[in-house]
Amino acid sequence: MGKKELGLLVLVLVIGAITTALNPRFLSAVNLLNMANLIGLFGVFSIGQGLVIITGGIDLAVGSIFALLGVVFIDLLANHDVAWPLALLFVLVGGLLIGALHGLLVTRAKLQPFVVTLCGLLIYRGAARYYTGDATIGFGYAEGLESLTWLASGRSFGVPNPFLILVVVSAVMAVVLHRSVFGRYLFAVGRNEEAARYSGIRTGLVVAGAYIVSGGLAGLSTVLLVFYTNSVSPSAFGSFYELYAIAAAVLGGCSLRGGEGSILGIVLGTVLLQILQNLVNILGIPSSLNFAVMGGVILLGALADQELARRAKVGVVARA
């Protein structure tokens, strides 16, 4: 565990302790399991976002992807009686394809990631709204979804499945990012694309790979989120969720300049964000302050991080 992750963990524990002191129900099993569920929901796609940020890019389209894939997914299940494994496959492949498209536009057409995914944000949102004619879409009276519903929103051994899915996804992605050749290339390309190219790395492929993974995880998250709310309003579903993901990744130590970050950090960042949202409700802070609390704590975290980094640097110089 690096210093950044350790600092974040301390922050999580301190905020958790303060909240518990103010209202012990924060630590009740029910509340913890609810939070675990939400951490699972938001963690999966934050990891994808983190990978993209490590390459020096950004994925602003995540929330709109949820809306588009979400309405199609529900429509397939509720109105077209498609078997759920097929619908699931469709959404996952759809996510991968959207990611591949972004990767292609970034690496082949040489467009800036911000521009590509900003356009994605607008296009997919519009497509989702057009698809349902702006109507909220729900499962209505669809049947035969018990196993999928259980998979995406049930519990195993008392633990919410989204959280278990996050555990599996982060374990796999931690190996990919920190132990595999692809992960090493991600860091190399993110930190110094030129040097990576001179080392014979197919930098385009590596960058595109990050977007594809991000798209695939967005597809998976779509399914989890759809079963959390059970209905999708195409104009509001997943709106701004890309910002939660970016915030989690940045809190977790991903640098927007690229080449830095860890899976553990991103997961801890997600945990912190969810705790912040939970404590607003648990402490009875007015809902209207929700975002302000989040922004304030992130800002404090960033300032503290900067200050610690500066002190570490001064320490090194003093020793030299």
Binding site: V175, R191, A196, Y198, S199
Partner: protein, 500 residues
């Protein structure tokens, strides 16, 4: 001559392990052009940094504007009218010429907003550019200006602050011959206007053309001074070198073999209407000389697949190879040690081991997962073999000195199976001790049967290390010199396009 504008007396500056300046004295009068010459690393830049207030000398006296000081600050240097025209131009190429000249001193409009008065700015800059004979106006965007034109903008900036001392640092390294002539004329006009000019260059011809006096530095000391009538090539070379260039040379162990790296009629995007051919044989070091911008680096990038060639053939050991990317080149044992190791060579915040294995991770991984032990072994092996000064291969590359960083770049290729290696400016920014080690490594590679192509702008290096030298001029190979024909004069003649 009246009282000197500038008088440096006994300036010394030491860095850990290096005495960069050792009692250097220098005098510059009004309306005088002082040529400052010396090899790379002789102390010219350090001396000028002292003058600019960037480096604080350990000892000595700076007499400037009628006052003696032990050291200057940047602000004091500017206030005393010291202006630099840098080797690597530092401009805002998203702004126009006038904005660049007046940056930080813009004319402002009256009124509460204090907006920039563009018209007034341009009116202030236009006469300066006119005086320099510029063929562009103050509203020309800098991004559209050539290197020579940008230099005029920098000189105009110096004039706009009424600089009394202008320091030109390698001003012609990227200029064509006619542009160089124009610049020399401007230097002459500055002198006539009473400005003191310090002209730093490697090009002795320019010194002959414009300097009133020449000061030569060598190893941090003044090697000698030549008055106007004594300025001629042989005398300057003697002062600069002070020893025999041939001493660096160690001969190959065996006669060069066949095959190696061969390019035939290679066309690069930098010179789409020219082509270059050359042949680095296994067992020899082929030097590749030429002025900056003569197409050497483009050639290297084409050979290594960074910017694939537009036309022509690359042969390795006699067989034509298709190289469309660095990956292709590496797969065939053709490697490049790039010119800018921080930008293109290394991922600075990765460890030595990680940098060494970056192009060859397949050999240190199984099913896509890296074996950290194997990677560390490879890093340690190169750290020991190349005597990289670091306690361990897990040390980050950013903490290493230039020479040791260069060894890391080299180490990554040595851990593979090289057939040909292109070195682009292998010792730029490398201290003297490490230079010798890198030359020995290059010779060792050649003796192992590797074809070595060394691009260098350092004349001492080109002449001292190469078995043969190919000289490029404007995109084509102007000539190839054998060891017996090698001299500074013969290389330079080919480089500037004169007939051999």
């Amino acid at each position: 001559m009246a009282a000197p504008l500038l008088e440096l007396d006994g300036i010394s500056k030491s860095y850990p392990g290096v005495k960069a300046l050792d009692g250097v004295s220098l005098r510059l009068g009004r309306g005088e052009v002082l040529g400052l010459i010396g090899e790379n690393g002789a102390g010219k830049s350090t001396l000028m940094r002292v003058l600019g207030g960037v480096v604080r000398p350990d000892a000595g006296r700076i007499g400037l504007g009628g006052r003696d000081r032990a050291h200057l600050t940047v602000a004091e240097a500017q206030a005393e009218g010291v202006a630099f025209v840098h080797q690597e131009l530092s401009m805002f190429d998203n702004l126009d010429a006038a904005a660049n000249v007046l940056i930080g001193r813009e004319s402002l409009q009256a009124g509460p907003l204090r907006l920039v008065d563009r018209r007034a700015c341009r009116a202030r800059v236009a006469p300066l550019l006119q005086r320099l004979g510029a063929d562009f106006g103050p509203d020309a965007p800098v991004s559209r200006l050539s290197i020579a034109q940008r230099q005029l903008v920098e000189i105009a900036r110096a004039l706009s602050v009424d600089a009394r001392i202008i320091i030109l640092d390698e001003p012609t390294s990227s200029l064509t011959l006619s542009e160089t002539d124009r610049l020399l004329a401007i230097v002459a006009s500055l002198r006539n206007a009473g400005t003191g000019v310090i002209y730093i260059t490697h090009r002795l011809g320019e010194v002959v053309a414009c300097a009133d006096r020449v000061l030569c530095l060598r190893d941090g000391q003044v090697a000698g001074e030549l008055p106007r009538e004594g300025i001629e090539h042989a005398a300057m070379t003697r002062l600069m070198i002070g020893r025999d260039l041939q001493a660096l040379y160690s001969p190959p162990a065996a006669a060069p073999g066949d095959g190696g790296l061969q390019v035939q009629e290679l066309v690069t995007s930098a010179f789409p209407d020219r082509s270059a051919s050359l042949h680095a044989r296994p067992g020899e070091i082929l030097g590749l000389a030429g002025l900056v911008g003569s197409g050497r680096t483009s050639l290297a990038r084409a050979m290594f697949g960074i910017e694939p060639a537009v036309g022509g053939t690359i042969l390795l050991d006699g067989k034509p190879v298709q190289i469309g990317s660095a990956r292709d080149a590496i797969a065939r044992g053709l490697y490049l040690v790039p010119e800018d190791r921080k930008l293109s060579g290394l991922v600075l915040d990765m460890s030595i081991a990680q940098n060494v294995t970056l192009p060859a991770l397949a050999g240190h991984s199984r099913m896509g997962l890296i074996n950290p032990a194997s990677e560390m072994r490879a890093g340690e092996a190169q750290r020991a073999a190349l005597r990289i000064k670091a306690p361990h291969a897990s040390v980050h590359a950013v903490t290493l000195s230039g020479g040791n960083q260069q060894k890391v770049v080299l180490g990554r290729w040595l851990s593979l199976k090289p057939r040909a290696i292109v070195f682009d400016e292998p010792t730029r920014g490398v201290d003297v001790g490490a230079k010798g080690e890198i030359y020995a490594l290059m010779r060792g590679l050649a003796d192992r049967g590797v074809a070595v192509l060394m691009i260098s702008s350092d004349m001492e290096e080109v002449i001292g290390v190469s078995d043969r030298v190919a000289v490029m001029h404007e995109g084509r190979v102007a000539g190839i010199l054998g060891r017996e024909d090698l001299s500074e004069a013969s290389v330079l003649r080919l480089a500037i396009g004169a007939q051999a």
